[in-house]
């Protein structure tokens, strides 16, 4: 099996989890009672939310949940538009990412989930519980309409259906949904935890990973275990041992953004803006999410710019990021921020 380490060594049940031991014990206890509420699991990306959801499902239904298959479901919207969505399901649960279909997520919620929730599960063996589980990933990307559609379904069919929502941020989830769920926060693992995990993983792969490098990696990954593992593997693949490495190879887009930040700080001129616009476009067309661009750009700028400017810079960044979420065309706001930053730097250099 040629698999990436992340996927290869992913924990399959509660006993295999490496961190947040206390929390996983509680979850295990919760699941052992047949009756458990709707769950809303949230936390930063790479913290292990999905892993924990799978653990819960396995605890509930046994190894049968690991036999997954994918399904294409077509739903017809009221305006007669056919919407297709891919579901991942086992015999016991179904996993849907409604935000795949954008603004039609409400139809998915209304039709698909309702259908699933309405039908009773026919039990064939003793192990199974008498309810099905619907996993909604990226619940924070649900539109407000869809969330409202979900409210009633959650209450009405709670007898034969449980929902597990997975979200990175709690704030976009409407309070009505929050109050119907048991909120479980999965915090990012600490650098130490990440380092140990990296080391144990490497041991399994028969590679020796120096602790210093593991910690270095963990620091760079910013609490994202997935990224840490992937990078770790990438380093290993590049040249079989970790000894030669002085610096950790960054993903190309991050390197690109850092360069861009340098560019801004170096020279504030109109020609520069034109070039930066091109670069921003390149980032966007490569599928880098604008929020990520923004965040990384600001981070890179903050690292390098004059300290006195930082508060203003962050303030402006907040303003434009907010506008970007409100608006349609990301480039406009990114560009506006860049020019604003240039102005700030220029003013600073002038006063000095």
């Amino acid at each position: 099996m040629s698999m990436l380490w992340v996927d290869k060594y992913r924990p399959k049940d509660f006993s295999m989890l490496d961190y947040h031991i206390q929390q996983s014990q509680e979850l295990k206890n919760l699941v052992e009672h047949s009756d458990f509420p709707h769950l809303l699991i949230y936390g930063p990306s790479g913290a292990g939310k999905k892993t924990r959801i799978m653990c819960i499902l396995k605890e509930l239904f046994g190894p049968g949940v690991e036999r997954l298959k994918m399904d294409n479901v077509t739903v017809v919207t009221p305006s007669n538009k056919k919407v297709e969505i891919v579901t991942v399901n086992s015999n016991y649960h179904i996993e849907i990412n409604p935000s795949d279909v954008g603004i039609y997520d409400r139809v998915i919620i209304m039709d698909l989930i309702k259908n699933i929730a309405q039908t009773q599960h026919i039990t064939t063996n003793n192990n199974t519980r008498d309810f099905k589980v619907v996993v909604l990933t990226e619940a924070d990307n649900l539109t407000v309409d869809a969330q409202h559609a979900l409210r009633r379904t959650m209450e009405k069919y709670s007898s034969n259906c449980r929902l597990i929502l997975c979200a990175t941020s709690l704030s976009p989830v409407i309070p009505a949904i929050q109050s119907r769920c048991l909120l479980i926060r999965v915090p990012a693992p600490s650098t130490k935890e990440i380092a140990t995990i990296l080391q144990t993983t490497c041991k399994k792969e028969d590679v020796s990973l120096p602790l210093s490098f593991a910690e270095e990696l963990a620091k760079v990954c910013n609490g994202n275990l997935r990224r840490a593992l992937l990078m770790c593997e990438a380093c290993k693949v590049e040249n079989n041992s970790f000894q030669d490495y002085k610096t950790i190879p960054q993903p190309d887009w991050r390197v690109f953004i850092t360069k861009l930040a340098d560019f801004i700080i170096q020279k504030q001129s109109i020609q520069n803006i034109v070039r930066i616009r091109e670069q921003l476009y390149e980032l966007l067309t490569n599928g880098i999410p604008p929020e990520v661009i923004f965040r990384n750009l600001v981070e890179a700028l903050v690292l390098k710019c004059n300290e006195a400017v930082i508060p203003f810079l962050v303030q402006e960044a907040a303003i434009y990021e907010y506008r970007m979420t409100q608006g349609n065309k990301h480039i406009i706001h990114l560009e506006a921020f860049v020019i604003k930053a240039m102005c700030l730097f220029r003013n600073k250099s002038n006063t000095q």
Partner: protein, 1025 residues
């Protein structure tokens, strides 16, 4: 003296019976006598009321009556035609006559009496009443006082007040003596009437007549009054011109009457006073209203004012009739007189006014006779009419009679005056007033009825008024190869060309060479509005003698209706020929389909198709007209029509035509201004004319400044494309003068793409910096920053608009996205770029879609969301897949394949993944792989890959893990063989593989393991060959 009068009556009565001149318009009542005659035959009702007045006068001045009559008879010859206008404003004229009359009386007396009168006035507060009183008392000495007062330039009213003193008492008498009326002799009746009539007319008028008379007795005064009253009544009721509109205006040179001054008196034969004035002024003459030595001609009409005539005669001014006047115009402009001759016949038959007037001069008494005759004849008829009827009829009669039958009217007016004598004096006053007030109304009605033709001509809009009357007049169509002439030629030869024999020989036209359209059965005139398409078509058709049947947008022109109407038309003849004088029935018809581009919508469904069918079989020419022949709707029609494109006419030509119209309408406009106006309307002649006619109402003198302002308003709205808009937004030369609203209007030309243009190009602008020069860069940066900030807000607003359909926010967006950037960045715009966002956005969508596919395929084995797939997974995954192939070549293919399988990815996903990671100037790793290796992978993939899911692109069927495993095992054996076999012939394999891949993709649902097996076998076979 009294005898004389009786004799006269006798004579008149005799004549009246014999008189054969039937309905002479007795206009001027020179003497009282003619009226007197009517009275004897009055019914009692009428006479009763007269007597009230008479009594008063009788009681006081019985003795005076006889002398009065004498005088009146004497005075008649001296009477001069009074201009009735003068009667209305007599204050000044009064003075001389009255003073002459009674100057001998003493002034002190006057004053005394004044006071007395005033006191008495207090008793009778009603002014009318007072007036009547005073008038009744004219004979008394008090008149002297009154006259003197007049001398002192007092107003008429004051004079009246003064007079009224003595009459209060008289009034009482009137009432008491009513019963005695019937017994009154004829003479008294006459007197009564005189009084009553004089009451109506202010005293003064009569006096003119007496300027010469030295002996003035009270009776004379009575006579004068009565006379003037009659005149006034006549004036009130006199009719309009008898033959209004029947005479042609003479066409004289424009200043043939220069230096000549005209005075008109009386009602002319065919000209209204306005028309007369216009006519004189047109020919350079001058009009005056009062007689003076400067007057060259007095044009005398029906019922001329006696005083004017008198005066004119004193000054030896030449008196001419209307016809003579018209002839004068002709002779002065060097043409043959033509009116007088015609008119002389009229005199004989209908006895025109002028004739009578001229007679007046020669023999003074003849008019009297004629009038008497008239009155004698008609009075009896009128007398029978009851009092009421006449009163109620008054108005309506006036309207009718005025216009046509002046004779009747006069009789009516006479009888009315007579009747009114029967009223109390007060009532008479009222009557006088009311009839006065009616006068304008009557005149108005007259003008309405009398001149329908003239009115309609004035009401025409200029576009109709100056419509070309013949093909030669059409602006810009004079060239021999102009559209008009082409059309003419085509139409002329139409019937000849449509002969089947001949038509065969004609060259089949192409869109580029239509051979003068000989082949076509229909013509299509196209061009912008207002250049004369319809005019050309109708005029050409008319000049060639076609009967025109027109359908335009106001007719419903759907398939059915067109079919009915046109087929009817094809099988019928027109009645136009019957109506016209020539009685020739015109077989030539033409169908005008105006505004064919308006044939649209449900109403006219199928209309154009039907029209084309008709064109194919038409037996008569068809002319279609449209604005835009390139329009989608016109596509089919264009192929069946001889295309004539009307361009915008040359400005110079339009200008020349407009200038001539301006001259006709008396508008002064500078040629430059006119040219500007024409440019403003884009050569639209119709609109130019409309604009001109609108402004002509305001001011007749149009300078180019005014036009410049106005032409801004009259400019047709032009829609700018985004490329023009962006220049206006940023170029300071273009937007310097713009107001805010104009700037925001720029946004609305196309608000979907406009903001994108602004966003794309604001960086290219070099703004006009206002700050210090050394800090120019910084200022520019700040300006850009502000602009970018505004754009950012604009985007937020736009998002709100689109998501919540709140289109009211567009104004705000206009400010953020266009006005503010324009304000900050106004300067010089460099090269304009098309918004890159559109392309970039679709690129971005593409990569997002690829990520999405990748994610959905790998979803089973991968945790995390879409973005982590891109940000974190993508690169390691790619490395995992590509590295084995890259490092180990063919040996690595198996590893890669396994990796694909574990992540359940398609081969396309691998390609996509590599493509996705080519950004940031990275090379595409997939391309660097040896093609052999790639092809090996493809073969392996095609043979062995069975997915645990049905990829979205191929099918919806799912496959379980079990079947998957099973299939794998089966196929592995084949694949091993194949790879060994076919390593060498790459090219051949490639071809097959693509074919197989296609097969695999299309019918992929067929069978699972089985299908794959057959395919792989087939490929094997081919490879072996």
């Amino acid at each position: 003296m009294s005898q004389d009068i009786r004799n006269m009556f006798a004579r008149l009565s005799k004549k009246s019976t014999k008189c054969k001149t039937p309905k002479k318009d007795s206009t001027i009542i020179d003497s009282d006598d003619d009226i007197v005659e009517k009275t004897p035959k009055r019914t009692k009702n009428v006479s009763k009321k007269h007597k009230t007045n008479v009594i008063s006068s009788d009681s006081e001045e019985d003795s005076k009556k006889t002398p009065k009559k004498l005088k009146s008879s004497h005075s008649t010859p001296d009477l001069k035609p009074l201009n009735l206008d003068d009667l209305n404003k007599p204050v000044k004229q009064i003075k001389p006559s009255k003073t002459e009359n009674k100057i001998d009386l003493q002034t002190p007396k006057k004053e005394k009496k004044k006071k007395e009168k005033n006191t008495e006035l207090g008793i009778h507060k009603n002014k009318d009443f007072e007036k009547t009183l005073m008038e009744l008392d004219d004979d008394s000495n008090d008149t002297i006082l009154m006259d003197n007062i007049d001398l002192l330039d007092k107003t008429l009213e004051e004079a009246l007040h003064n007079n009224s003193n003595d009459k209060a008492g008289d009034n009482l008498k009137q009432k008491t003596y009513i019963s005695e009326d019937e017994k009154m002799p004829k003479g008294s009746k006459k007197r009564q009437r005189k009084k009553s009539e004089s009451e109506v007319t202010p005293n003064k008028k009569a006096k003119l007549d007496y300027t010469d008379a030295e002996v003035d007795t009270d009776k004379e005064k009575w006579e004068k009054r009565r006379h003037s009253a009659a005149l006034y009544q006549q004036y009130l009721h006199r009719g309009g011109p008898k033959k209004h509109g029947q005479k042609e205006y003479p066409k004289g040179t424009s200043n043939c009457l220069s230096n000549l001054t005209f005075l008109r008196t009386g009602v002319l034969d065919s000209l209204e006073s306005d028309e007369f004035n216009n006519l004189v002024q047109e020919h350079g003459g001058r009009i005056v209203h009062a007689v003076s030595k400067k007057v060259n001609y007095v044009v005398v009409g029906d019922q001329p004012g006696p005083s004017k005539l008198e005066k004119a005669r004193n000054y030896n001014i030449k008196e001419i009739s209307e016809d003579e006047f018209l002839d004068l115009i002709l002779t002065k402009s060097g043409k043959q007189p033509m009116y007088a001759h015609n008119n002389s016949e009229d005199v004989g038959t209908s006895g025109s006014v002028e004739a009578t007037i001229t007679k007046i001069k020669e023999e003074n008494k003849s008019p009297e006779k004629s009038k008497n005759e008239n009155s004698n004849k008609e009075a009896p008829v009128k007398q029978k009419e009851s009092f009421k009827i006449r009163d109620t009829k008054n108005k309506s009669d006036l309207k009718q009679l005025d216009f046509k039958d002046t004779n009747k009217l006069k009789v009516e007016s006479h009888s009315k005056t007579i009747d009114s004598e029967g009223f109390t004096s007060r009532e008479k006053q009222n009557n006088g007033h009311s009839s006065e007030s009616k006068l304008p109304e009557v005149v108005k009605i007259k003008s309405e009825i009398a001149s329908p033709i003239k009115l309609s001509n004035e009401n025409l809009s200029w576009t109709e008024k100056y419509k070309p009357k013949s093909t030669i007049d059409i602006i810009g169509q004079k060239d021999s190869n102009s559209n008009m002439n082409k059309l003419k030629k085509w139409l002329e030869n139409w019937h000849k060309n449509q002969d089947p024999e001949r038509r065969k020989k004609l060259p089949t036209p192409s869109p580029f060479n239509q051979y003068d359209g000989e082949w076509y059965k229909a013509a299509l005139l196209s061009g912008p509005p207002g250049v004369g398409k319809t005019t050309t078509a109708t005029l050409v058709a008319r000049e060639l003698g076609f009967d025109v049947v027109e359908f335009n947008a106001s007719d419903t022109r759907n398939k059915k209706l067109l079919h009915e109407e046109i087929s009817q038309m094809m099988h019928s003849t027109t009645v136009a020929g019957f109506i016209s004088v020539e009685k020739n029935i015109n077989k030539k018809r033409i169908l005008l389909m105006d505004e064919v581009d308006g044939m649209a919508g449900n109403e006219d469904r199928g209309g154009i198709a039907e029209l084309i069918n008709f064109i194919k079989v038409a037996s008569f020419p068809i002319i279609c007209m449209c604005n835009n022949r390139d329009h989608q709707k016109m596509r089919t029609l264009v192929n069946h029509c001889y295309g004539l494109k009307f361009g915008r006419p040359n400005i110079q030509k339009v200008k020349a035509a407009m200038l001539s119209i301006c001259f006709k309408e008396n508008i002064k406009i500078s040629p430059d201004a006119l040219a500007q106006l024409i440019i403003g309307t884009g050569g639209d002649i119709r609109q130019t004319l409309n604009n001109l006619s609108m402004w002509s109402v305001g001011e007749k003198n149009l300078t180019s400044e005014v036009i410049e302002n106005e032409s801004v308003n009259s400019k047709k709205d032009v829609v700018y494309g985004p490329w023009d808009v962006i220049k206006k937004v940023f170029n300071s030369s273009e937007n310097k003068t713009m107001t805010l609203s104009e700037k925001s209007r720029l946004f609305f030309y196309d608000y979907s793409i406009g903001p994108l243009f602004v966003q794309e190009n604001y960086l290219q602008v070099t703004p006009d910096c206002t700050g210090p020069k050394n800090d120019k860069d910084r200022e520019m940066l700040i300006r850009k920053c502000l602009a970018a900030d505004a754009l950012s807000m604009g985007d937020v607003v736009e998002s709100k608009i689109r998501s919540s359909n709140n289109w009211a926010l567009l104004e705000s967006q206009a400010f953020y996205s266009t006005v503010l950037p324009s304000h900050y960045m106004s300067g010089t715009l460099g090269r304009t770029n098309f918004p890159a966002w559109l392309g970039k956005n679709s690129q971005r969508n593409k990569s997002l879609r690829m990520i999405g596919e990748l994610y959905s395929h790998a979803r089973i084995s991968v945790s995390g969301d879409k973005f982590s797939m891109r940000l974190d997974y993508a690169e390691p995954l790619r490395n995992l897949l590509v590295r084995p192939m890259k490092t180990r070549g063919l040996d690595g293919v198996r590893d890669t394949f396994e990796a694909l399988k574990t992540y359940s990815l398609l081969k396309d996903d691998l390609v996509n993944l590599c493509e996705l990671l080519t950004g940031f100037s990275n090379p595409n790793v997939f391309n660097s792989i040896d093609p052999k290796v790639k092809s090996a992978l493809t073969r392996l993939y095609n043979k062995e890959m069975v997915h645990s899911f049905a990829p979205v692109t191929t099918s919806k069927k799912k496959q379980t893990a079990e079947t998957n495993l099973y299939g794998d095992e089966n196929e592995e054996t084949f694949s091993d063989q194949e790879t060994e076999d076919n390593i060498n012939d790459d090219t051949l394999i490639k071809v097959k593989r693509t074919g197989k891949a296609a097969q695999n993709n299309l019918p992929g649902t067929k069978g699972k393991g089985k299908g794959k097996n057959t395919e792989s076998k087939a490929s094997k076979g081919k490879a072996k060959k």
